[in-house]
């Protein structure tokens, strides 16, 4: 490796580390992202400079086309995506990253000959091939898992697709995948076996994501993010490049930390999220059909008359109906009337970590009005009206009342303690956990059925007329 190349990579790695550090604090996050991008640019420039001079397998014009088309597609995707579609976007990009690492591994393997492997020495060849196996396995799982997650997030795939013994199949696939990856080291010329590994990995990724419920998506997203980092680190061992190893390991570790945070927010063990399917058995426990009266916006608006404090709980439903701007307008109208308005954000509200915060930021909701679960739960008992917009599982009292149920023990927002709870929702249907929500049937609860945005607009008009 040229000296300037090694030095450039070192600088890139430092920029990534400082960038990630800065991304963790609101004041420095923008700069953190810029530093990360700068580190990436530097790594690319240095690599091109070092590789320049020799014409390789696809030639520089094709390399230019690959870089150019990728950049163009990336720019268009980033400009076009709606903030509500952010989880799908991140999932897809994540999948692309994993696929890239896997494709590099495959390309390196197909470009190898017994002679070139012999040139690497026994240890070199074993590490090269082992890393190819790891990169292939992790990379393809990341791709199909991410695409599966994306299809679940945008609603193409609904519910949890599972069958008896799915965990056994997953375990078997993983074992076969590991065995094939290991066999690759001893038998690198067996290309059909490698394609078998690709197939097994793809299937494993699909089976890994499909049985997981939508409420667990933040966990899945974080974990896939971690996997794409690990795939990059494995690719680093394939091409013998430390900057990939460092960056990949950083992202892998960061993703694991986020996965842990998300699991904690739902009070679920990681193993449960991965291997227990919810939402099938829980729905049918009580045979009785309960009905609930839907209220009109006019009636709901009256409850806002003369109140002092209002807490708004946004959920994924708010995102789906793009209601965040109306929510902010309503909050501002209430504030004009001297009402104290706060937002309570559940850590797993939405479909990816921190999703609600992004949406509310987009709607210009002041940062200091957003409260986390621990900071707000004691305040519900002093709250006059709690407005729940498209949230369900995150306010379900069953987390307290039914400790053995699917939601049992999950930290929830105690909306039930508010004097009046207004819930804007499309229907009474249970949330992703498949548990009926007791809160809907309480006498202190008013249900406003309909599209979140339309209902809130009505509510806003009525409140203005008070």
């Amino acid at each position: 490796m040229e000296w300037f190349q090694a030095l450039g990579y070192l600088l890139s790695a430092v920029l990534f580390i400082v960038g990630l550090k800065y991304l963790g604090s609101p004041r420095t996050a923008v700069r953190g992202n810029q530093l990360g991008a700068l580190g990436m640019l530097l790594a690319v420039v240095v690599t091109v400079a070092a590789e320049w001079g020799g014409e390789g397998i696809i030639g520089w014009s094709l390399i230019g086309i690959g870089l150019g088309s990728g950049a163009l597609i990336g720019i268009v995707m980033a400009k076009k995506v709606e903030m509500t579609g952010m989880p799908e976007m991140v999932a897809l990009l994540n999948g692309f990253g994993g696929a890239a690492s896997a494709l590099v591994a495959l390309s390196e393997l197909l470009g190898s000959t017994p002679e070139s492997l012999a040139d690497r020495g026994a240890l070199g060849a074993a590490v090269f091939l082992g890393a190819i196996g790891a990169s292939t396995l992790i990379g393809w799982v990341t791709l199909t898992g991410s695409v599966g997650a994306m299809l679940k997030l945008n609603g193409t795939l609904r519910g949890t697709l599972s069958f008896p013994g799915v965990n056994l199949v997953k375990a078997a696939l993983l074992a076969v995948g590991l065995y094939l990856a290991y066999s690759l080291i001893g038998d690198p010329t067996n290309i059909p076996m490698t394609y078998g590994l690709v197939g097994v990995s793809c299937l494993l990724g699909v089976l890994f994501v499909l049985p997981i419920g939508g409420a667990d998506m933040p966990v899945v997203m974080s974990f896939l993010n971690s996997l794409s980092g690990l795939a990059a680190a494995a690719a680093g061992f394939v091409v013998g490049n430390d900057v990939l190893i460092i960056s990949g390991a950083l992202v892998g570790a960061a993703g694991l930390i986020l996965t842990g945070i998300m699991c904690k927010a739902m009070n679920r063990a990681f193993v449960d999220v991965m291997f227990k399917t919810y939402g099938v058995s829980a729905g049918s426990d009580s045979g009785e059909k309960r009905t609930v009266r839907g209220y009109e916006a006019e009636e709901a608006a009256l409850t806002f008359d003369g109140v002092r404090s209002v807490i708004i709980i946004p959920g994924y439903g708010m995102a789906v109906s793009q209601a965040q701007h109306v929510v902010r307008e309503l909050a501002e109208e209430l504030e004009r009337r001297g009402v104290d308005v706060k937002y309570a954000i559940h850590p797993v509200a939405g479909r990816m970590p921190g999703h609600m915060n992004v949406l509310l930021a987009e709607a210009n909701v002041p940062y200091d009005q957003l409260y986390e679960l621990d900071g707000i739960n004691s305040q519900f008992s002093d709250c006059d009206v709690c407005l729940v917009v498209g949230a369900n599982d995150t306010v379900n009292p069953a987390a307290h009342t039914d400790p053995t149920g699917p939601l049992g023990g999950m930290p929830v927002l105690d909306a039930e303690k508010a004097r009046t709870v207004i819930i804007v929702k499309r229907s009474l249907s249970p949330g992703y956990a498949g548990v009926d929500n007791e809160l809907f049937y309480r006498p202190s609860t008013m249900m406003l059925f309909g599209d979140g945005k339309a209902k809130l607009a009505e509510l806003l008009t009525e409140v203005k007329a008070l």
Partner: protein
Amino acid sequence: MIVLCLIQLTPSALIASITVLVLAIFLGFELISKVPPTLHTPLMSGANAISGITIVAALMASNAQLSGGNKTVAGILACMALALATINCVGGFMVTGRMLEMFKRKEG
């Protein structure tokens, strides 16, 4: 930087790389452990963009000097990897920037 890169891997060089890997994992744990929930989404998408570093590996694979093997398929795969990794990087950093822009707007 032509065929010279195929120097044989020594055990100490391998251990050096593994050392780097292990230390970076610990560093990653330390870096992320205290992040406000507001920043979880941008952090994730920023980290995701950094995992696009595999673009470097894709560049190297695209410019490999092969003496044999299945050059055509290897080339096609490398080129695909390059495009996908670039989408990952460019899209990832830009979309993270867009999200963070929204947080910033209100502070000013």
